[in-house]
Chain length 362, copies 2
DNA sequence: GTGAAAGCGCTAACAG
DNA sequence: CTGTTAGCGCTTTCAC
């Protein structure tokens, strides 16, 4: 009933356990005769190695850990699939944890991963500049590679896209489309530094063009009350003609929320996303967004890690930026000049001087 | 540099390793004094238990394995997240593998999982009636629970929705909406038995209502050339007024494909999906579909497994059907009576007698 | 060619 | 209360 061990095989084959190990691993000499008997016994018993015993002896778990905020966002699901695929191709298993955008959960997860003796870790943290999870990784002697994060300051291995530059491209594009009043709808910056980076990129483009700073609408990562947020937004900033969402899922939710309050995309207002998830290209209007190689982030980072592991060293402490692309969809159109009617329809007041929903770049 | 072991702690604390184990695990008596010294040494050294050593000794890996076809379909991503969450809450880690709808990969994955000494497995297979992966699980003494699958024949533990009944509901609904000519767009049955079950449900409803058997369009799980498939479909069956897709992602792809060939949903043709993924409710038209508790499948199955593990027995060999719900969206409308114009516009030929795209229920 | 034995990190008797 | 010891399954010298 209980799983056969190497000992059982040895017994049945009438030899020592060392011989079994040698034969089954092809790691040493063996006479044709015993070889035969061992193979026989092993298959008869349905023997397979117990990897735990092996790990303990070899000090190699052949496992890598993965930590992402969630799997609900296809961006991470795809990346994890990329990780899994490369890992498997190289003989590694993957232990998965979701930290749910929570700092403490991140730290816990890393601890567990490390306790399981993973040989390497692929992870995304809320804020690389301030992450006990990352600090723990730096303290441990286990190589890792960040994905999605593009850490500033301290040099660490990472594979991602240059969020700021990409968002800047978005800014330039929408300016090209004559949009002067943009609102950045963002997953709370404390939950996602990527979100903040993207905001910065947008700001750069706008400030450089001599326009005002974008309006900011922060929402929880679960996108609670978008309708309320929008009501507030359009009340304060009725001139807003385009929304830039910090990720595609949020952008889709925005489009839906806008519809709910009677605004059509892109006729009444434009929306741009960020990520390039495949479903965003299936819907109507097709989402205009930054297309990023999510899956590749996972696979590339994992390949880096696997290579490093093979050479018993850590991956280079440098940030690798994968290419991104501005993907033209249908959700962004040219800003229409406001006519008297719409002016009258919306609140005619100028921007309030202390808009509670606005923040400044750090 | 290398991780401290219990031995290092013992040394620093000036005691035996058993004492360290006892103190840190709270598994035995200890004087306040040594206790102090051990705790001190442990924290000074940054000691954490090596779970591999622990597993070997205790014969418990505190790990469960998960195998799904892919993470690209949110249905599975959500379920995995459910698994992960419950697992973590109960002190288990999760090893993830994606088998990519491939039988051989499924078998391999299960073997690896078993070798890693997982204590239980949550899995979805292409075809439970014919799966070497499942056979391997039945042979091993490791408890498991299927998700999404609803195995017929041999009794096995499973948590899912009753695909056939749910699809039957869809059938009844679209009949209620006056659709006589439906096409079932399905992920290849060999890749997904769920897909087949759903087809059966639809057939039941149609046959029972005295209508002809639905037309079947099988596509690969990657949804290759939908446009070509549609061209063919409408060429042969110009009377088709509704498409029932075997899952939501496919349904969204169908809507997009229909758009590409100039057909609008639901004006020109209706589309119904299956799964109830959240994004399907964000798009326009909102997808009419069967809403299923994907995440709950994962969490429920895992809870079952964890409970079983706690009592050192296998989960009950019975299929648990979770509730589903017909979700009214906007992609299904009443069939319009064909007028002369549209008759003329499409091929006027009757159904061909040997339609290559049609199949019969088994 | 092959077996005996040590030891990976840990827990659980069992003495003291 | 605490230390010694055996042993979980495996690989790897090291003798024979």
């Amino acid at each position: 009933m209980t799983k056969p061990t190497i000992k059982d095989v040895a017994e049945m084959a009438g030899c020592g356990i060392a011989t079994v190990s040698r034969v089954l691993n092809g790691s040493g000499p063996s006479s044709l005769d015993t070889r035969e008997r061992v193979l026989d016994a092993a298959s008869k018993l349905g023997f397979t190695f117990n990897e735990v015993g092996r790990s303990l002896k070899s000090q190699r778990s052949k496992t890598i850990g993965v930590m992402v905020p969630t799997l609900s966002n296809p961006v991470f699901a795809d990346a994890v699939e990329g990780v899994q695929q490369i890992a498997a191709a190289n003989g590694y298993d993957v232990i998965l944890t979701c930290a749910n955008y929570d700092r403490d959960a991140e730290a816990d997860a890393v601890t567990t991963l490390l306790a399981k003796q993973v040989e390497g870790v692929i992870l995304t943290v809320s804020d690389p500049s301030n992450s006990s999870a990352l600090d723990a990784m730096d303290g441990a002697s286990v190589p890792y590679c960040l994905i999605f994060n593009q850490p500033k300051g301290k040099r660490r291995p990472a594979v991602g896209v240059d969020n700021t530059s990409a968002a800047r491209v978005v800014g330039e594009k929408i300016i090209e489309f004559k949009h002067r009043n943009v609102a950045f709808v963002a997953v709370r910056f404390t939950q996602s530094e990527r979100s903040l980076d993207r905001f910065h990129g947008l700001c750069e483009a706008y400030l450089e063009a001599g326009f005002g700073e974008p309006v900011l609408v922060e929402v929880d990562h679960e996108f609670g009350d978008l309708e309320v947020a929008f009501a507030d937004l359009f009340d304060r900033f009725p001139d807003t003609t385009v929304l830039f969402a910090s990720n595609d899922m949020l952008a889709l939710a925005c489009i839906d929320g806008l519809r709910a309050i009677g605004k059509r995309v892109p006729n009444d207002i434009s929306v741009v996303g960020f990520d390039g998830i495949s479903v965003a290209n299936l819907v109507s209007p097709k989402l205009t967004t930054i297309s990023t190689p999510c899956r590749d982030m996972g696979s590339k980072a994992t390949q880096l890690l696997v290579n490093a592991l093979a050479e018993a060293k850590a991956p280079p402490r440098r940030v690798i930026s994968l290419p991104f692309e501005f993907r033209t969809g249908q959700s962004l159109s040219h800003a229409r000049l406001k006519n008297a009617d719409s002016e009258a329809a919306t609140s005619p007041s100028a921007k309030s001087t202390t808009p509670p929903v606005t923040k400044h770049m750090k």
